[in-house]
């Protein structure tokens, strides 16, 4: 094993990448552009939904309406508008509101005479995420109202009489819920904060795979691999040289993404840079060797591109980028657990959001190491095929 030969190869790769402006842009600018777009989409998209209320109008309705107003969350969390029952469908349809709570006009009267009025919740429903959120809001609101009214009725003594006017209202909810406390992060954490860490892993894995497999394919199609294999450079030195060459770009890329998301996008970061690099380096070893391995089965650059949906489509959906692995169906989860990005995402989130130390992510690091070694073995096994 000659370190000088390894460095000769690594420096050649570095030269080749540096010469190619497009590749440089791909490695360093594209991730930043993608992160920025994602950031804008996630932060500028309004998450404040609108709820329409068809309020009760009959006897004693003032009491109920005052209670509703007390129970409604603040305006920056939920917008509300009052409409009439006949406007519900049209308002939902034209997109002005996401859901409506329809109280019968004589709601208060029914409640105080001991009947059980029916409250109807209507959801716009075309976006399941919004529908689900609004369903929770509307249900929560009506249940709280129910609890408050029950308490009020007790306060008024045994069962309200129809004609009796309720006392001046000091109706309140009989308990308070204080603002949530956070074990990690805080109320100011957004979806961005949980998604930014994983992109460091995704980008370094993706670009290193792409660059290595194309570089290796070219070695084969240009015939340089034969010259190299005839020379004193051994197969091990070849693989290590490739790892060193591309690891440099992967690490610089990770640093750049990290600085960008922390300082430009103001994503919260409370981690240890060395651990981020360690995860990125382990991923790079796996990804270089996956690239070498898969390039054996490609005859040209287009066939390399054909591997991308297989390698990345699956990983992005199953590795917990958008949906936590624990929420996946049972039969899909085993697939997640063989994907390197699952462990990288976990480790990067742990380090960046929860300030995990090396002990906390030892399991994930081990899994990444196992994946890297498995890929080294595969690429070494197929190296002979590369030249034959």
């Amino acid at each position: 094993m000659s370190f000088a030969r390894i460095m000769a190869l690594a420096s050649r790769i570095i030269h080749q990448v540096l010469r190619d402006r497009r590749t440089l842009a791909l490695i360093f600018l594209v991730p930043l552009a993608v992160m920025s777009v994602l950031y804008l989409v996630l932060t500028s998209t309004s998450s404040v939904h609108t709820l329409a209320l068809v309020r009760p109008t009959g006897t004693n309705s003032d009491l109920v309406n005052t209670l509703i107003d007390k129970l409604l969350p603040s305006k920056d969390k939920l917008k509300t508008i009052d409409i009439t029952a006949s406007q519900v469908d049209a308002t939902l349809k034209n997109g002005n509101v996401d859901a409506a709570i329809i109280f019968p006009a004589d709601f208060a009267q029914q409640v105080f005479t001991g009947q059980h009025p029916a409250v109807q919740i209507k959801l716009e429903g075309s976006d399941p995420n919004v529908a689900s959120a609004m369903s929770d809001v509307a249900n929560g609101l009506t249940h709280q109202l129910g609890v408050a009214l029950a308490a009020l009725k007790t306060q008024l003594g045994a069962g309200g009489q129809g004609g009796q006017t309720p006392p001046a209202i000091n109706a309140t909810i009989p308990f308070t819920v204080s603002d949530p406390q956070y074990l990690h992060g805080g109320a100011q954490y957004t979806f961005n904060d949980s998604i930014a860490p994983v992109f460091i892993g995704i980008f370094s894995f993706f670009f290193v795979f792409l660059l290595t497999s194309v570089a290796f394919l070219r070695e084969r199609s240009q015939g340089t691999i034969e010259r190299v294999m005839v020379s004193p450079l051994t197969r091990a030195e070849l693989v290590i040289g490739y790892i060193f060459g591309f690891a440099l770009f992967a690490l610089v890329q990770s640093l750049l993404i990290l600085l960008f998301v922390v300082f430009a996008l103001r994503v919260h970061y409370s981690g240890n840079l060395a651990l981020v690099f360690l995860v990125s380096a382990l991923l790079t070893v796996g990804s270089v060797n996956l690239g070498i391995f898969l390039s054996t089965f490609a005859q040209n650059e287009f066939q390399i591109i054909q591997f991308i949906p297989l390698v990345f489509g699956v990983q992005v959906f199953l590795s917990g980028v958008f949906w936590p692995v624990a929420q996946l169906p049972d039969w899909l989860r085993p697939i997640s657990y063989i994907l390197p990005l699952t462990y990288a995402n976990d480790a990067l989130r742990g380090v960046m959001l929860k300030s995990d130390g090396i002990g906390d992510i030892a399991g994930q690091l081990t899994a990444l190491l196992v994946f890297a070694l498995a890929m080294v073995v595969l690429s070494a096994l197929t190296m002979r095929r590369q030249i034959a």
């Binding site: 000769a8 050649r12 080749q16 005839v230 004193p232």
Partner: protein, 262 residues
């Protein structure tokens, strides 16, 4: 950790023809690709300091033979010994120079960067490296294009640079697979003059070609067809044995004889 380069006369004596063993000894070599017998029980000896020409039509097994000699292909049977070592051998590889039919260059690098890379993996560094690169590029008449990206080179220029890359580390045995394809006649002549000069310096050259007019420039020839060695001798002797006055007729004579060297 630069590789020692045993280029001393004593070692050359010991490893080359000095101790009686020729540079290359091939015994009962065969190579099977599925049903195709690419090389058939071939015996061949190549002496130190000669230019040995592998002559034969396309598909006669010249490239397969060279690829087995450099260790890229495993023989199906038989042995190849170079400098007394059974191939493939890590001891021998620093002393081999190999030129493939593909130009085998990094098209996104300059000529200088290509040559620097190949020098570096052979452990040739520093001033000696710069001197050799300059010398080789002058030899193949590319010195004025040294900092041009190779992707912009013409086919012939790539071929010339490829030869320079194969020889820059001063190999003891150069295996050149059709080195003169796409090279114009004038430069082709200068290549052959250079091969003769390398022979004088003790370098052994194995060169494959289907240009029969180049055959006369070789010290000895091996005539190949369908993986068989039809005849092996000096050009003059082959002409004499066949009773012909040019190599083309001589080749056809041996090819029709159906008698092979085994």
């Amino acid at each position: 950790m630069t590789e020692a380069r045993p280029d001393t006369q004593a070692e050359q004596q010991e490893r080359g023809s000095g101790n009686g063993e020729p540079m290359v000894v091939i015994e009962k070599l065969s190579k099977q690709f599925g049903k195709l017998r690419a090389i058939d029980t071939l015996n061949m000896t190549i002496n130190a300091g000669e230019t040995y020409g592998l002559i034969g039509p396309n598909g006669s097994g010249k490239t397969t033979l060279i690829r087995m000699m450099v260790g890229l292909l495993r023989p199906s049977g038989g042995t190849i010994r170079i400098m007394g070592q059974r191939m493939p051998s890590a001891k021998v590889s620093p002393h081999l120079g190999y030129m493939t039919q593909l130009s085998a260059l990094y098209l996104d690098l300059t000529a200088r960067e290509n040559m620097q890379f190949f020098c570096n993996i052979y452990g040739l560094r520093g001033k000696e490296q710069s001197r050799r690169i300059q010398e080789m590029l002058e030899r193949v008449e590319l010195a004025d294009r040294i900092d041009d990206v190779v992707g912009k080179y013409s086919g012939g220029m790539k071929q010339r640079l490829s030869l320079a890359c194969s020889l820059v580390h001063s190999p003891r045995l150069a295996l050149l697979d059709e080195p003169t394809v796409g090279v114009d006649p004038e430069l082709r002549r200068s290549f052959w003059d250079y091969f003769a000069q390398l022979n004088k310096e003790g370098v052994t050259i194995i060169v494959s070609t289907h240009h029969l007019d180049e055959a006369s420039r070789c010290t000895r020839l091996g005539l190949m067809r369908s993986g068989l060695l039809l005849a092996q001798d000096t050009p003059q002797e082959l002409l004499r044995q066949s009773g012909k006055d040019n190599m083309e007729d001589a080749f056809l004579h041996f090819a029709s004889r159906q008698e092979v060297l085994k």
